[in-house]
Structure formats: structure tokens, C-alpha cells
Amino acid sequence: METQKLPEDFDLEVYEALKYIIDPEVGINIVDLGLVYEVSLTEEGVLAVDLTLTTPGCPMSGTILTATEQILLKRFPSLDVKVNLVWSPPWSTEMITEEGMRQLEAKS
């Protein structure tokens, strides 16, 4: 399946939609937590999202995957959505965005 490059504003819209999903334990959204690795759109109109979790055994796996799928389907009803859970590279705290770090520091 060939992947097409997303227009920049569409890419941003996807990330903005995913920011609605808050990691319930940490309390910041999954984009700023660095869980979303890649967003792509295939020629067949499949919006694919690669995301990871803070730990492989995370009990939130089902909830976050379902939430990601649900929110993107609602935001982009004309597209098919495919969410892939990936473990490589393993998530580390270095993947938290500057905004995520700011939010973590603001909570202290």
C-alpha cells in the first residue's frame, strides 16, 4: 500500500484531534506525551496512525487505541482509520514534547 504525503495543515488537524485524548494517569494528552509516532494517509483513503504506550503492559492499551480510532472517525468521517500499536522505538521520557514538559512542570 503506497503512502501519500499529507498536506501540512491536514497533518496538524490530525494531531490537534488526537490532543483530545488524555493519558488518564499522567494527565497530559497523548501527542504531547510523545505517544503518537507517525500519521499517514494512503491513496485508498486510509488514515493510519502509529502510536505507542508508556509501557508495553499498559492496561490503557485498548482504551487509547479505541479512543484514537473513535476520535479520528468522528473528525474525518470520510476516511478509513487504522491505528497501529508499535513498540519500536520504545517510548522514553525524551519523547515528551516541549509543551508536554511545560505541562508536567506546571503541575508541580
Binding site: 483530545y20 488518564p24 494517569e25 494527565g27 497530559i28 494528552n29 509501557t55 485498548g62 521520557t93 508536567l104
Partner: protein, 436 residues
């Protein structure tokens, strides 16, 4: 894609009844404590103290650990729980066994009720062992945390079997030496083998996870595992066969193992990205600080010091209190509010996430109750220890009141969570998002 197919979490009816039972057992424990102030003046082999210890160890701590572990085992071992049916059966046997054992000890009725209780508990431990071992076998990778957890389950079974032998020995004496000799064995295998190893195994994974800390070097944990088990095995062999004066050495091995675990946590904490320490984690750190008390006292009780008998008895009692009502209870009081809100939240909101604005786990319990719970606990614990050391029943009673208030606040908060239902959810309106 549904949550059920991708999440390793077990059903809520497997996990939540353990929290409910444990909370009620904590209330029962505190109320029994109110009526046991006279028992702290003598030997630890006192019916009321045996009751308190077993309600604390089984109905409160082990029950809650079983429930939490069914939720956490998939997190630590990264695979689904082997059997939910075995977990429910183990809950039933543990519950029945704990209640019957408490009744038998309180009334010092050492006949068939005690035997049934002990058998029920051993069955619960066997079922638990099968579940843990079979789950561990499915784990994609074997880690030091797996070592800790699987070994702790085996020690729990050994503790139960020693207990069963002692229960039978009450009516059909067959053990070669006096009962308290085996009671020490039973208690130390339970404390170091079951509780300590299990708590370290789970804590080593969860505490850094809650702090958003990444610490990969597990060398200290490996040594911690080896030292604690070596200390325990050597203690058992010596206690059963040789009766040397080397007990402080074995105790030192266990203490060194715990110290390495604490150093591991300290190193992990240095890398933490999360600066906000909530009340649950604060209470967890209080528990880790309280752990120092039994670590010091284990040296005293194993050294056979020539202290006055009354003082020695008090030290033994404070040692037991510092383990069950100190470290373990403090840890549970804190970690309940790190795990339970999350579990309840997951079951209440997993179908709504991404479609509706949902609260966070920290929003579904009372922080005020938790704050007062932590304060009354610490006051109750300090008063109880002081009362036992001073031999003052009034101070012991004040401590018991502190524990009773703690248990009521804790149970109110736990049931507030258990009865939580999702309501008044508002659909997302895009374009106005803010991270919590």
C-alpha cells in the same frame, strides 16, 4: 477494534470485590484493635494478637494484593491473566478462610473451624500460585520483576502450609518442638518471602512508571532478589536444624536486599520527569520511610539481646506492628488511590474516551478524605507504637481510634469509587481543546 481485544486487563468482577473485602477487613481490624488494648501487655502469642495479625495479613493485605495483582500482573508481565475463574475461586477461599481464621483465633477455638480455615487458605494460595505461574509462563520476556512475583507466590504457599501444619498440631500434636518456634518461621516466611518480595517486584515496576522515570539498570534488583532469598533460606535451614547464633547475619542479608531496592528507587527517582507528587504517592513514600523501622528492629529481635522481658516483648510487638500496620498498611493506603481510581475509571469510561469529555481517574475520588486518611493513619500509628513501648493502654486506645478513623475514611473513599458511574457526559466540541 475494541478495548476487550487489545487490553490485557481482567474483568472488573475479578478485581473490584477484593478491594471491597479488604476495605471492610480494615474496618474490622481497627474495631478489633479497639477491643484489644489489653492484649499488648504480654506475649505475642495471644489470641487477640493472633486475630489482629491474621486479619491484617490475610483479610486486609493479602486480599488487596491479590486483587491489585490481577490488574497489575498483566502490566508487569505484559500478558493476559491466565484464568479469571481461578482468581474468583481464590477470592472465595481466601475470604472464607480469613473470616473463619479470625473467628477461631478470637475465640481461641482451635478445632475444626481452624482446620477448615487453614485448608481454605492453602487452597486459595494453590489457586493463586497456579494463576501466577501460568501467567508468567505466557510472558513475552522474563524479567527480574517476574522472579520477585513468582517467588513471592511460592513463599506465600509455604507460609500457608506451615500455618496448616501448626493448625493441625493444635489438636494432634506432632511437631517436635514448641509452637512459637514454628510461628517465627511462619511469620518471617510470610513477611519477607511473600509481602516483601511481592512488594519489591511490583513496586520496582510501578513506582518508576508513576513518576515517569526510566531506569533500565536492574543489577541492584537482581542482587536484592538474591540477598533476600538467601537470607530467608539460610534462616529457615538454621531455624529448623542448627539453631546457631547467626540469625542477625541472615537478617542483615534481607536488610541489604531491601536497601538495594531503595537505592534502585532513588536512582529511578532522579530521572523522573513528573514533579507533581499526589497524595497516593506521598503516602507511598511514607510507607517506604516506615520500612526502616522493621529493618532496624529485625536486627534487634534476631540478636537475642539480654533485654528485660517486658521490653523484649514490646520490641517484638512493635516489630510486628511496624510490618503489618506500618509499612504494608501505609503502602496499601497510598497505592489504593494510584490503582483503584484507574481501574474504576477504565471500566466506567473506556467506551466513551474519544467521543465524550471524561473526567480523569484523579477526579473520581475525594482528595479531602484521602488527606485526612493519611493524617489520621500517621497519628494512629505513632500513638499505637508509643503506647506499646510505654505499656500504656490509654495511648494504645488513642492509636486504635486513629486507625478506626483511618479505616472509615479509607472505606468511604473506596466505596465512593466502587459505586462510581459515568454520568452527564458531554460530547467533544472541536477547536477548544486543552490538556488537563
Amino acid at each position: 477494534m475494541s478495548a476487550a481485544t487489545t487490553s490485557n486487563s481482567p474483568g472488573k468482577w475479578v478485581v473490584l470485590p477484593h478491594y471491597a473485602f479488604a476495605a471492610l477487613a480494615f474496618v474490622a481490624l481497627s474495631v478489633l484493635l479497639l477491643f484489644s488494648t489489653d492484649a499488648f501487655g504480654g506475649h505475642y502469642f495471644h489470641p487477640k494478637l493472633l486475630t489482629l495479625t491474621h486479619v491484617a495479613a490475610l483479610g486486609w493485605a493479602t486480599m488487596l494484593i491479590f486483587g491489585a495483582l490481577y490488574q497489575l500482573l498483566p502490566v508487569v508481565l505484559e500478558c493476559r491473566l491466565y484464568s479469571e475463574k481461578l482468581a474468583v475461586a481464590a477470592f472465595a477461599f481466601l475470604g472464607v478462610g480469613s473470616i473463619l481464621l479470625a473467628w477461631a483465633f478470637w475465640n481461641f477455638e482451635l478445632g475444626w473451624v481452624l482446620h477448615v480455615a487453614a485448608c481454605s487458605l492453602v487452597i486459595a494460595f494453590i489457586l493463586f500460585n497456579i494463576n501466577v505461574a501460568q501467567t508468567a509462563r505466557k510472558a513475552p520476556k522474563w524479567t527480574v520483576e517476574s522472579d520477585f512475583i513468582v517467588t513471592s507466590a511460592i513463599w506465600l504457599l509455604v507460609t500457608g502450609l506451615v500455618g496448616l501444619l501448626m493448625a493441625v498440631n493444635f489438636t494432634t500434636p506432632f511437631l517436635p518442638v514448641e509452637h512459637t518456634h514454628y510461628l517465627q518461621l511462619h511469620a518471617h516466611i510470610g513477611m519477607a518471602g511473600w509481602f516483601l518480595l511481592l512488594i519489591i517486584g511490583v513496586g520496582a515496576k510501578l513506582i518508576p512508571m508513576f513518576l515517569l522515570a526510566h531506569h533500565e539498570d536492574t543489577k541492584k534488583l537482581n542482587w536484592s532478589y538474591n540477598l533476600i532469598n538467601a537470607g530467608l533460606v539460610l534462616f529457615i535451614i538454621d531455624h529448623l536444624l542448627f539453631h546457631t547464633l547467626l540469625l542477625p547475619v541472615y537478617a542483615a542479608l534481607v536488610v541489604a536486599g531491601v536497601a538495594l531496592f531503595l537505592l534502585y528507587l532513588r536512582e529511578a527517582a532522579k530521572t523522573r520527569q513528573r514533579q507533581d507528587i499526589d497524595l497516593g504517592m506521598k503516602q507511598t513514600f511514607v510507607a517506604l520511610a516506615l520500612l526502616l523501622l522493621p529493618l532496624i528492629l529485625v536486627q534487634v529481635v534476631s540478636s537475642r539481646l539480654a533485654l528485660p522481658q517486658a521490653l523484649l516483648s514490646s520490641v517484638y510487638l512493635v516489630y510486628g506492628i511496624s510490618v503489618f500496620l506500618g509499612f504494608i498498611s501505609a503502602l496499601i493506603l497510598g497505592q489504593t488511590f494510584k490503582t483503584l481510581p484507574f481501574i474504576v475509571w477504565m471500566h466506567a469510561y473506556e467506551d466513551y474516551v474519544g467521543r465524550f469529555k471524561t473526567p480523569l481517574p484523579k477526579d473520581i475520588y475525594s482528595h479531602a478524605l484521602l488527606r485526612w486518611q493519611n493524617i489520621s493513619y500517621l497519628l494512629g500509628f505513632i500513638l499505637l507504637v508509643a503506647g506499646v513501648l510505654l505499656g500504656n493502654e490509654q495511648v494504645i486506645l488513642a492509636g486504635a481510634i486513629g486507625f478506626t478513623i483511618t479505616s472509615l475514611l479509607y472505606t468511604a473513599n473506596v466505596f465512593h469509587l466502587l459505586l462510581h458511574k459515568a454520568h452527564d457526559l458531554k460530547p467533544f466540541t472541536y477547536g477548544n481543546t486543552k490538556a488537563a
